[in-house]
Symmetry: C4
Subunit: 207 residues, 4 copies
Amino acid sequence: MTTRYAMLFFVTKGRLEAFTDAVIAIVMTIMVLDLRPPAGQGFADLKPVVPKLLVYALSFTFLAIYWNNHHHLMHVVERIDGRVLWANMGLLFALSLTPAATAWWGVHPGDTAPVVVYGLVLLLSAIAYFLLVRALLALHPVGSPLALAIGSDRKGRVSAIAYVAGIVVALFEPWIAAGIYVGVAIAWLVPDRRIARIIEGGEAADS
Amino acid sequence: MTTRYAMLFFVTKGRLEAFTDAVIAIVMTIMVLDLRPPAGQGFADLKPVVPKLLVYALSFTFLAIYWNNHHHLMHVVERIDGRVLWANMGLLFALSLTPAATAWWGVHPGDTAPVVVYGLVLLLSAIAYFLLVRALLALHPVGSPLALAIGSDRKGRVSAIAYVAGIVVALFEPWIAAGIYVGVAIAWLVPDRRIARIIEGGEAADS
Amino acid sequence: MTTRYAMLFFVTKGRLEAFTDAVIAIVMTIMVLDLRPPAGQGFADLKPVVPKLLVYALSFTFLAIYWNNHHHLMHVVERIDGRVLWANMGLLFALSLTPAATAWWGVHPGDTAPVVVYGLVLLLSAIAYFLLVRALLALHPVGSPLALAIGSDRKGRVSAIAYVAGIVVALFEPWIAAGIYVGVAIAWLVPDRRIARIIEGGEAADS
Amino acid sequence: MTTRYAMLFFVTKGRLEAFTDAVIAIVMTIMVLDLRPPAGQGFADLKPVVPKLLVYALSFTFLAIYWNNHHHLMHVVERIDGRVLWANMGLLFALSLTPAATAWWGVHPGDTAPVVVYGLVLLLSAIAYFLLVRALLALHPVGSPLALAIGSDRKGRVSAIAYVAGIVVALFEPWIAAGIYVGVAIAWLVPDRRIARIIEGGEAADS
């Protein structure tokens, strides 16, 4: 790898990260535009805001998880190509649908359709992230830090299955589906130890 | 080129890229604010959201293409002046009209005027990008990587012609115009090989 | 600390700062979307905009204070871990509630509930910042620049008490609570001298 | 100036620039949210959009001018302190009022009050920029590149006078005031040659 290629790579990786950060930051933040202040001026008027706030907190958490995992993932990335750029755009598109799904669910917290649609957006985001990981794995050899860090991606697979289960369950019991989504979020709140482990291992246990 | 000038150049280029990224990221993302959740709470209420979602996906793709091409273009840029800064601002202005055009088309998917206006925004963006490229070519000698990378810019010219054709066709058959826009987007989904080729060629010293 | 670890640290710290900046910048700026132009076209129509503008100015100031303090804090940070990343996300979540609280108060400037809610958002943000500082202190030894810079965090503690006082007072006299919030903002307008002192002291080697 | 101080300075300057860029990018872009698509679906329905589009283009240009000048200004900055950070926040606050003024004027293009308010926002931004320049001059010696670059700041003073004139004239003839604002924008479209000259001079005429 020549110096010039390395510099181009770091520029590309840096700009990809910066762009991803900007989009995720905006997606996270514009959701707050749907936390409209109530028409009245009393505490009782806050009641319809409560479910919106809870759904917002859940969506904020999911987006924070994606930012966190994307950040850890990029640490061990050594190559990027056009397919990676587009897979990343696909992830950003999927994540950008979160505010609309959040807004709908927040207004109709106990209904089936919004909970199904919310689950579909979660599933779409998980698939997009999976495709981004595949695009990166295609560029990195089997023994690379990235390949080791990803491993069998069990957590990602289980999450996708949980989303599908949530979507199906939502057709009968929306509140149980909501519980499944919350459970997945909690499971991910711990940052991806696989990649952290590889990084620390690479440091020869000096951290 | 002295070291100090080089540093100033990299700072300017970096800040120009960062600013461009921020604006494109915001333009991409605020479009989602028009994906308003439906008034009702059933699946049938999603019907008017479908055309909005499709137009949003198309606009997201066009903006992603511009980000991608801008990114590849900047790789081979060696000089920047005031005219480049303003040409870039012109591009950002043109791209910033995308959400309004998207919102109008999404509500009236089969009508003439929104499809014409959408095509005009695409055409304006293409012209602005063309002017940015011209401003850059004026600063780079004939044999420079940038000049080689741009070449005759056939893809850019054909796209502009396609937009004009789409605008004219939309006066009679909006759906055919929509097909033309989608076709241009697909043609650009592949990143600009011309510039990628030059970069890679420069690495192997066989360009 | 190996070179590779140091590089990873600077990348993480840089990306954390950039992401924080993006979210704070968006939160600050989308508040202006609630400064809707009046329906009429005369000067008298501006009257309902005045309280909105004043509350916006106050919220802008609080967010600027957080940006400033976050910036000074990060100067002396030498380590970051997953807990810090999540504590930072918690701070961003708390700050992201500012626009909704601002919008409500701006429409009902003399009412109790909006002033209480505004104070709760201030308090939540202060608690989140406190938890971020704790997460950082857990990573830095007692004599580190960060630990010295934080010290007993008197200003932070007094502010939190003032917010609680403001919330309680607002139940009886909203305008006095507003005065308390403004007072805290003024007290913080001076950048955090503790950290600035440490930095400057480190320069002159007399700390 | 020790190496550590220099690094802190570059970090601060970089983060200040990045934050400023983010806010200006958002302010520029959220204005497009007021370019609401017309209710109807024909070309005639676009008529009320035209004045909005023109005012948006003017505001976009003013913000682009501020970005450009801020960028050139920061090139020659060698020191930053807390006062500079706050003066910069003041500038961002003033600029953030642009979308509201733009939205009001766009709906009532021929009325007095919106044109006066628009001029007041321009004047406020000019004053804030002036205060930022003063804060920077207080940190840089008389013969510094920054001091030489600013000089007597004639263009800035004349612009402020023009805004005052526009505000007064708007009380009688809004359209003439609009012409004055456009004139100032055109005068600034050329990037600040004073600073560019100093930079190029510092390069010993090798650019």
